[in-house]
């Protein structure tokens, strides 16, 4: 930073340095009180005893986590065996989010690549075209998807009328519908980082590979993909993470059999059947998974950036 000072524009401007605490104070207060403290409270709640009509009794208990991982029989006195119900819900969520991520990658990568290789002037318009649906209300998008895919919906009508199928195909309430819904929810998160890294990619490298007798697909696999890998990983994480905890797509498109973490948590806080400590514990487990993924990702990005320099 010392070098920057002599060349005029300092690397980091400090015009408002003396006011910075006052400038930051409102955001510290609002996010601190209404996001950070609630998350800490949630952690505390996950170790409390449940109250039967929702809420908690302030008494330390590991019951929530115990219920999540172990089955102690109907009266709670049998020897503990592993309880698979909730682990399976988490496992299914990971699986569904993973497949949705793969679907997004399979369609998002070629799309991002295609956009990044358009003339520079029209690229923003393409990016805009891809991102518009994202800004439409997620609930409305999911409902629209459900409407389109229904058994008597426009898609089946269309396929029946052109004679591709003779009976409506059931898509709603299947795993695939959930994956499609998640894909639809978060696709721009896949396209944008890949687009950004392809745009920075130096195509002379591809030309060099072609000049050295590599076919296009070999060039793609061995030259282009390694170069844009950080963008691909970023895209996958940005789709995977919100998919994992999503509620609307599984709830509206998946139905009862395709329960995911989001619905499990939601159930604990709605109506009298709820179990707040258990919901808080499930939320903590989800949050820990997400934070671990984000930390690994951050470390990878830092490493990749170092490699660039």
């Amino acid at each position: 930073m010392a070098a920057g000072a002599s060349s005029g524009g300092s690397a980091k401007s400090d015009t408002y340095a003396e006011a910075r605490n006052w400038l930051l104070l409102p955001s510290w207060i609002v996010i601190g009180i209404f996001v950070l403290i609630p998350v800490i409270l949630m952690l505390i709640y996950s170790f409390l005893t449940k109250e039967f009509r929702g809420g908690v009794i302030w008494e330390f208990s590991l019951a929530a986590y115990d219920q999540f991982f172990f089955d102690r029989g109907l009266f709670g006195d049998s020897p503990p065996v592993i309880e698979w119900t909730y682990i399976n819900i988490f496992w299914r969520s990971i699986w569904q989010a993973g497949l949705a991520t793969l679907l997004s990658l399979a369609i998002g990568f070629p799309t991002a690549y295609f956009i990044a290789t358009r003339p520079e002037k029209i690229r923003p318009a393409w990016v805009f075209l891809i991102t518009i649906p994202y800004w439409v209300n997620l609930l409305i998008r999911t409902v629209s998807m459900k409407f389109l895919l229904r058994d008597q919906g426009p898609l089946n009508d269309f396929l029946l009328s052109i004679g591709v199928i003779s009976d409506p195909i059931h898509i709603v309430n299947t795993n695939f519908a959930v994956q499609l819904g998640l894909f639809y929810s978060y696709l721009p998160f896949m396209v944008l980082p890949i687009y950004a890294s392809v745009e920075r990619y130096n195509f002379a490298l591809s030309e060099a590979a072609a000049d050295l007798y590599a076919t296009k697909w070999v060039t793609l696999r061995r030259v282009l993909l390694p170069a844009v890998k950080p963008g691909v990983i970023a895209g996958c994480i940005l789709v995977f993470v919100p998919s994992l905890g999503s509620f609307l797509a599984p709830d509206l498109l998946g139905g009862a059999r395709n329960f995911m973490i989001g619905s499990l948590i939601e159930e604990q806080f709605k109506g009298n059947a709820g179990n707040w400590p258990f919901g808080a514990a499930a939320s903590m487990i989800l949050l820990s998974m997400v934070l671990v993924i984000l930390m690994i990702f951050a470390r990878q990005q830092a490493k990749a950036n170092k490699g660039d320099a």
Partner: protein
């Protein structure tokens, strides 16, 4: 130039953490003077300018403006204005609004600001562009707006941070004269920062050559070119042959030296030079000439290596017998009377009286 001191820098130091950007420096800049800070990038010249403007704190030392200590004043309370390197014209304001800005901020009525801005635009011949936005002007025009904007509040000192560096060569040369003209007309002290020696030599009353955070030499254009104090100044200003020599004796204020290969040379002695010490001698290439025979003055025997045509001059490389290589510049005029020596020809390198200059470090 008058005897009043406009800016007095006393032992000013600038440190960023462990890094010292500016070693203790003292300078007195006169009222009405066109003063230049010259040096390569990172030498501390911009840091010093920004300390005067108030954008950088002074770590140690003092800065006086017409006798008043200003180092604790924020930039907006210093009657000093800056022409920024990339002009920093406010893009959302018109040219007129840009030039009015400083006068308005001084608390003057709008009408006065407008009148003053009008005058300034007249001075830089841009009145017809008053209602355009900066982006609609060429680089040279933007540069003149920046100048008008900085002059409008009638600063006591004008600071110019490499103002010409973003212009192309032709425009840069034209602007040199214009700047000098405006300085003379307004009578304001100009402190000009540049890394371009030609700019510094052609415009300045005095030049401060800086390097590695230190003041290397202070003087007018001729001083620093003809009588460099040290290796850095000799090497940085213009082109020169730097020969390593050792001093054999000093007689009548002349130092008798010899260099590799047994060649002997004499030149004016300088202070603090010891017999037997190894020092450098600077020989400007345009003050050397070639001949078949040695002349009465200093002559060194050598062989022509190469002739390079560089337009205004012919640059000849000569290898001295058992010694170093030297460059000689011959003006490319009056060609009929001059002989071009072919490579391989043995020649003598002769020097004008006083061409050699000893450098202590």
């Amino acid at each position: 130039m008058t005897d009043t001191i406009a800016i007095d820098v006393r032992k000013a130091v600038k440190r960023y953490g462990d890094f010292t950007a500016l070693q203790p420096i003292s300078l007195s800049i006169h009222d009405n003077e066109f003063f230049t800070l010259l040096g390569p990038s990172g030498c501390g010249k911009t840091t010093l300018l920004r300390m005067i403007a108030g954008f950088e704190d002074v770590t140690e030392g003092e800065i006086f403006l017409f006798g008043d200590e200003i180092k604790t004043l924020p930039p907006h309370k210093r009657p000093v204005n800056t022409v920024f390197q990339n002009y920093a014209l406010f893009p959302h304001l018109t040219i007129l609004q840009n030039v009015m800005f400083g006068v308005e901020m001084q608390g003057k009525p709008k009408s006065e600001a407008k009148a003053r801005a009008g005058e300034m635009l007249e001075l830089v011949q841009l009145s017809q562009f008053a209602h355009r936005k900066p982006s609609q002007l060429s680089g040279g025009q933007q540069q003149r707006v920046a100048l008008a904007r900085a002059l409008a509040p009638q600063p006591k000192v004008l600071l110019l941070d490499e103002p010409l560096s973003a212009l192309d060569l032709k425009l840069r040369q034209a602007m040199r004269f214009e700047l000098k003209e405006i300085q003379r007309e307004t009578g304001i002290t100009f402190i000009f920062v540049t890394h371009d020696q030609e700019e510094a030599l052609t415009m300045s009353d005095r030049i401060a050559v800086m390097s590695a955070g230190r003041l290397q030499q202070l003087g007018n254009a001729q001083d620093i070119y003809e009588r460099p104090h040290n290796m850095f100044v000799a090497d940085f200003i213009g082109e020169t042959n730097l020969l390593e020599v050792s001093v054999d004796a000093i007689q009548d204020k002349r130092a008798i030296c010899h260099l590799g290969g047994g060649h002997e040379l004499t030149c004016d002695a300088v202070d603090n030079i010891g017999i037997g010490s190894k020092v450098h001698m600077s020989l400007r290439p345009e003050r050397l000439f070639l001949s078949d025979d040695p002349t009465e003055s200093e002559s060194l025997a050598g062989t022509i290596r190469e002739n390079i045509f560089v337009g205004t001059d012919i640059q000849t490389l000569v290898t001295l017998e058992n010694g170093p290589q030297m460059t000689i510049r011959t003006s490319n005029s009056d060609r009929g009377n001059k002989r071009i020596f072919e490579p391989g020809t043995p020649v003598y390198v002769n020097m004008e009286m006083g061409a050699g200059r000893l450098l202590v470090d």
